[in-house]
Every structure is written in C-alpha cells, then in structure tokens.
C-alpha cells in the first residue's frame, strides 16, 4: 500500500494506482481528455496535470503512478493557470463554432471550456480553412480535422481494440494530424466503419454521417410508406440517450416513439435475426455434411457468421483468402430490407417503389452495408436509410416526445414477431447461442443441454471464447454427426477477430463455427450506440439483453410463428432458391491499406 496526500487529505491506495484514480477515491475529479478507460494511457493532452510537491514540472495525473509520501495539489495556482492555458490552446486549434456543431452539448472540450470559464480566447485562431479539412467520403463516418484535438483516442481505439489501424498519426510538429494511409479519402481505405472511434472522440472530429433529414423527408412524404426495423441492441441502450439509466430496456417505449414520429410500420430486425438462424444454421449443417459425408474439398469450414458489416469489411481487406468461410447469409438488417420490399409489400399490398425502408442500428457500419451494390435484391435499394441509436434519440427529441413517460406499445405485424434467441444477437456470443439452440434441436430432436437454454460458455466479455458441444442421439437424417464434438469460437472486437483468424490460418484450431462481431461486447457496444459506451455500460446492456431473452415466451428461432409462416407462404424451405436470391450474398477482396 502507498500513502500520499492530495490537497492536504491523506489516503492509502494500492501500488500501481495513478494519481487520477487516487484523487477519484477522495472525490476529486481531475479533468481529462485523452484518457479513456478502454484504452492505454497516452498522457498527451496534459489537461490532467497536477502539482507534485518537490517536482520541477507538473505531472500528468493519468500517467503517473503514486509513490510513498507523495504530496499532490490538484488546484494550485500553477495547475489552474496551466490547465486553462491548455484548454485555450486546444480551442485555438479547434474549429470552435460550437452552435453549428453536431456534437454541440455533447463535446468534452466544450464542457471543459465552460467549466474553466474560457471566455474571449486569448490566443490566435490557428484554423485557416476549416472547410478543406472535412472528409465526407465515407458512407458511415465524417472526419473533420478542424475539430480534432489530437488526443489519439481514435487511433488507440482503431489499433488496440480493433487491430485495424486505419487511423494513424502522421507528420510531426504543427503539421501533425490524424490520417489515413497516405491521407487517402476515407472511403478508399481499410476502415471497417465500425464507429468505435466515434464513440470515443471527445469532440466533433469524428461523427456518424447522419440521415435524420432524409428520414424526416420520407416520413413527411404522403406517397411513401415508411417501414422501420429496430436492431436487437437498440432497445437496451436507447434509454440512456433519453434519460434512463444504463441497462434499462425500452422496447415498448421505443415502438411507441417510432409510431409517434410517424413511421407507417414499426417492425423488428429480431424477426430476421430469427430468419438468419434458420438460414445460417441450415448452411452450417449442409457444410458439415458436405465436408464430413460428401468429402467435398471445395466447401470451407469453419463457417463464420456474417451479421456484422464491420467484420465483413475487415475480412475483405485483411483475410480475403478466407471469404469462402464466411456465411453467405446477409445480415438481419439486409434480410429485412430484401423482404420488406417483396414479402411485406405483397402481403400488405403496397407498391414496393413507395416503400422507404429505414433501420435503427447500434452501428455505423450498417450505413455502409446498406449502400453496398450487392444489397439490391428486391429490385430496389433494400434498406434506404440507416439511423444509429444516437440519431433516433435525436429524432425523438426533435419530435418533442417525452420518452420517459411513454406507454409501451407492441410491434406491428407481419415481421414484428421474434424469439428470445434473436434478442441475444445484440450481445457477443448471442448468434452462436441462438444458432446452437436451433441446430442442436434439428439434429437431435432434443433441446440444447443447458439449463434454461442458457449457453453460458459463449456468454461474457472475454475477448475470445471457445466452447464445444458433443452431439449424440442424432435423428436418422443427421446420423453422420453422431459423436461429433462441435467446436465453436466467439470473438468480439476486431483485435480478437484477428487472433481467431490467425489460429484458423495456421490450421490448428479445428473450429466448425465461429461468431465474430466487430465491436467490443458485440452490437450492444456498437459504434452507433449512446456515448459514453464503456466496459461498465456494456455489462449493464448485456444483462438487460439476457433478461429480455428470459422473459420471452418463445426462446428458439425455429419456433417463431412468423418464421414458420414466411417459409410456408413465401420462401419455401431454408436455403431455397428464393432464399438465396433474397437472403444470401457474396463478398469481395479489398485493398489492404
């Protein structure tokens, strides 16, 4: 244990504690900008400098471990002067046109400037031409260098959490900037559009490309029938942006709000999550048969999931040799889009050209996905606009809806019914668990052998999870699987995806099925989720998701009556020709930079 004093108050803390953490224990908040609990310490914004008695210079509280007998002052004259100077310096290289900024009111630099009463700023404005500093080329992310304060949260996120490193620091001195490879336009580079950088950017330098006005225009157009789908992870996070504590599920209020905003049909991505399980489960079993029985060497195992568009773009860039291992299933969003303008249109007798299909996603990569040329199998753009959870929260506020007091409302039908298995798509391991619940039952005729159907080994926040299920007592059709140990892996966060893929590349993993989600924690930690998103908040959202699953009357995808109906009325059988036309796709190799 280490003894020290902070502002004259004594305390004892563990060795290795930073000054920042120690001060927190005494209820002193030291301001920070570059610090983020998900990331390694940078110590470069210097906003957290404090005085260490006897030291020639101030020290960064985030980067300095406590030592025995240390005396710290967090509000001395030199600390206050320096801190104010630093905030002013950051403002001088920042396009501080706050009222016009998308992050107005949610910017950490803005609130610090306010806290320290930075008025008429002293220093010269260093931004010469802010308009030339914006990169709008990406479908998902807007990067505005004129608002960047070089805290490197984005660079560290992209490198440490995602292992992508599309963002790097380039140049030095006054020319230093956050850059892509060779400063190429964002749409051309290796960026997976995961949006994790947005979640951690303290200012408006990285934001989602928002489609709020597009959606309002569609809603306000009387000719259009606007269909909205909501992803599993949105219902457990939207509340955070509208006044609720983290971990509060707001499914019914969300549906109510969407109706009040004016969406014509409020439907659920969970429906197509169930559909994904049927299609992908069938694909897995078919591949297993092709490999184990038919000894086909043109069929690839392990099979990996394809729900996460960040993961898809990652593998297209980095492991193109393994694209054949990726499930041909589209993501639930795109399955929904394809069905909305075909099956739904037919059933509801609406001309598909008048349907505007909108999705609410915890994700920024979904915006890119919806714009992929492959995603037009209905004959139209299958999903017209993708809104993040954050954008929906903004629309709710714009519509003047008192969200917290809304009554719960149910989804419309058809394509509004879902099972518990689809809800857990929002958490890492959820797709795996849902798939196992169905596949095991198809093969053996019995429920998966876990208490309450909860497959605990694939749950939780460990970066890479491995599990295996021994299959026995197969029905006649699946006898070839008798005694097979089905080996599964689950990874979330692309840095962990890389770890799994390196194993697969070496060929010593022996996996049959792999679930990969681009974002830490899975979709519940997605790049379109409310800010802040951190490990504590992710854990709360996960708990809410599993509670929602437990509360559902139907817990298995293949028991969803609307799923049974869509096959009967429209698709035929799983992996049928029609399914392939509408619900499956292919991927392509992309540049490695």
């Amino acid at each position: 244990m280490i003894n020290l004093t902070i502002n004259g108050l004594e305390l004892e803390v563990d060795k290795g504690t930073t000054i920042l953490e120690a001060a927190k224990k005494l209820n002193f908040r030291i301001p920070t900008l570059c610090h983020h609990q998900d990331l390694c310490v940078a110590g470069n914004c210097r906003v957290c400098v404090v005085e260490q008695v006897g030291n020639r210079t101030l020290v960064a509280a985030c980067a300095t471990p406590v030592t025995e007998g240390m005396e710290i002052n967090t509000n001395s004259l030199s600390v206050r002067t320096s801190r104010k100077h630093i905030i002013e310096l950051l403002l001088s290289e920042h396009n501080a046109d706050c009222t016009k900024c998308y992050k107005n009111g949610e910017c950490e630099l803005q609130s610090l400037a306010n806290e320290y009463s930075v008025g008429d700023h002293i220093f010269l404005d260093l931004i010469v031409d802010h308009k030339s500093m914006i990169d709008m080329s990406s479908a998902s992310i807007i990067k505005d260098d004129s608002k960047c304060i070089r805290c490197l949260r984005c660079v560290r996120t992209c490198e440490e959490l995602q292992g992508v490193h599309a963002l790097a620091v380039a140049n030095k001195g006054s020319e230093q900037k956050i850059s892509s490879f060779f400063d190429k336009p964002w749409r051309e580079v290796i960026c997976t559009n995961c949006g994790q950088c947005i979640n951690r950017c303290p200012t408006g330098a990285l934001v989602e490309r928002n489609n709020i006005e597009d959606v309002w225009n569609a809603i306000l157009d009387p000719e259009k029938h606007v269909v909205v789908q909501t992803a599993p992870a949105v219902r457990v996070s939207l509340g955070e942006a509208l006044g609720f504590e983290a971990g509060h599920t707001v499914t019914g209020k969300m549906v109510s709000a969407l109706k009040r905003i004016g969406f014509d049909s409020v439907l659920d991505t969970d429906f197509t999550a169930d559909l994904t399980i049927i299609e992908e489960g069938t694909e897995l079993l078919t591949r297993l048969k092709d490999v184990l029985v038919n000894k086909r060497d043109d069929v690839a195992l392990p099979l990996t999931t394809s729900c996460s568009p960040g993961w898809i773009k990652f593998i297209e860039h980095i492991y193109p040799d393994f694209l054949k291992n990726v499930s041909t299933c589209k993501s639930p969003q795109q399955m929904f889009g394809a069905l909305a303008k075909t099956y739904f249109a037919q059933k509801r007798k609406i001309d598909p050209k008048n349907i505007v299909s909108v999705s609410i996603m915890p994700c920024t990569a979904k915006k890119f996905e919806a714009n992929r040329p492959e995603m037009r199998s209905s004959g139209f753009k299958d999903v017209d606009f993708v809104l993040t959870t954050r954008e929906l929260a903004r629309m709710v506020r714009q519509a003047g809806i008192d969200f917290m007091r809304l009554e719960d409302v149910n989804y419309d039908s058809i394509m509004g019914e879902s099972s518990g298995a689809s809800v857990i798509f929002g958490a890492t391991g959820g797709v795996m668990e849902a798939a196992l619940r169905t596949a095991y039952e198809i093969v053996t005729g019995r429920e998966v052998p876990f208490k309450n159907l909860n497959i605990i080994p694939v749950r939780g926040m460990k970066g890479v999870k491995e599990a295996s299920i021994k299959i026995d007592g197969c029905t006649d059709e699946w006898k070839f699987l008798e005694g097979v140990e089905l080996k599964c892996a689950v990874a979330h966060g692309l840095v962990n995806a890389r770890e799994v893929m390196e194993k697969v590349k070496k060929g010593d993993a022996g996996y049959h099925f792999i679930e990969i989600m681009a974002c830490p924690g899975g979709c519940l930690g997605g790049g379109g989720q409310p800010i802040p998103t951190n490990s504590k908040i992710r854990a709360k959202r996960a708990r809410a998701i599993y509670d929602e699953d437990m509360g559902k009357p139907i817990r298995k995808s293949h028991e969803n009556p609307e799923i049974i109906q869509v096959y009967k009325d429209f698709l035929g059988t799983p992996n049928s020709h029609k399914s392939h036309e509408l619900l499956h796709t292919h991927y392509k190799e992309r540049n490695r930079y």
């Binding site: 490198e159 992508v164 490193h165 599309a166 963002l167 790097a168 620091v169 380039a170 140049n171 030095k172 850059s179 892509s180 490879f181 060779f182 580079v189 290796i190 490695r592 930079y593």
Partner: protein, 154 residues
C-alpha cells in the same frame, strides 16, 4: 513481380520482419529510390504485417523519409541560425536560379530537389548543405555554382 515489391522483399529478407526493422527498411528504400511511394509503403506494410497507415504515419514523422517525389539528388540547405547568419539566403538564391526551382520543388528531369533543413551540424563552417549524404561547407555563391555544375554533368 514489380520492381518495388521485389526490392521491399529483399530488404525485409536482409533486415528482418520485426517492427524494429521498419526504419532501416524505409531508409534503404529512400536511399535506393529517393523517396517512398504509396506502392512501396504498401509492400512494406504487407511484408512486416503492419497496417499501411502505420507505415505512412511512421515515415511521415521523419523529415528524411520523404513521401513526396524527390529527385536523384536531394539538396538540403541548412536554414538554422548560424547558417542563416552566414548567408544561407544567398546560397538558396543561387541554387534556385541555377536549377530554376523553388525550395520544396524538384526539377522537371527529376534530377534535383531543393529543400531547406534544420541544423546539420556544420555551424562553424556555415553556410552548409547536404547533397544526399554528402556535406558541403563554407559555401559561397561561386563555390555552390561549381558544385552544382559538377552534379549537373553527372
């Protein structure tokens, strides 16, 4: 295999593929090819299994690892104080006039690039400049003209 790719492979074989060999490889690429192209940096990223943005970010930190087109002979005239006091401007003027380029530019035949650089450690024999690795010191207008004529003939 394209020329650049082959060269990068050879350099990676020679130095090794660990991160610590990134700078030696980039330095030798610049030595061979005068500057780093988009293509060559992508090959380096692939060989060392690091991101291309990371390679670019690292290279662009170092003034001598040029990521812009440079000529066969890169002239770096010292602009730091001692050389400035001893007539650096005049030397730059002579070079600009002779090569018909400004500071930061490269001649059309891609033979010369002219840059101003920070202290090169010849303050007592100022003004000084480097042409690629070679220092030229105690420069005068006539001396620098002679040096350039010599290089032009090469």
């Amino acid at each position: 295999m394209p020329d650049q790719e082959k060269l990068v492979k050879e350099l990676a074989d020679k130095h090794g593929r660990k991160r610590e060999f990134l700078l030696p490889i980039l330095q030798e690429l610049v030595y061979e090819k005068n500057y780093l192209t988009d293509e060559s940096m992508r090959y380096v990223a692939k060989e060392l299994n690091i991101s291309a943005a990371d390679v670019y970010g690292t290279a662009s930190f170092y003034t001598f690892l040029d990521t812009e087109l440079r000529g066969k002979y890169v002239i770096r005239v010292c602009k730091t104080i001692s050389c400035s006091m001893k007539g650096k401007d005049e030397i730059l003027h002579v070079i600009c006039d002779t090569l018909k380029i400004d500071v930061g530019e490269t001649t059309l035949d891609k033979k010369f690039s002219l840059l101003a650089t920070n202290c090169i450690g010849w303050c007592h024999k100022a003004p000084a400049m480097l042409i690629n690795d070679i220092p030229f010191i105690e420069l005068t207008p006539s001396k620098v003209t002679k040096i350039l004529q010599d290089y032009i003939k090469r």
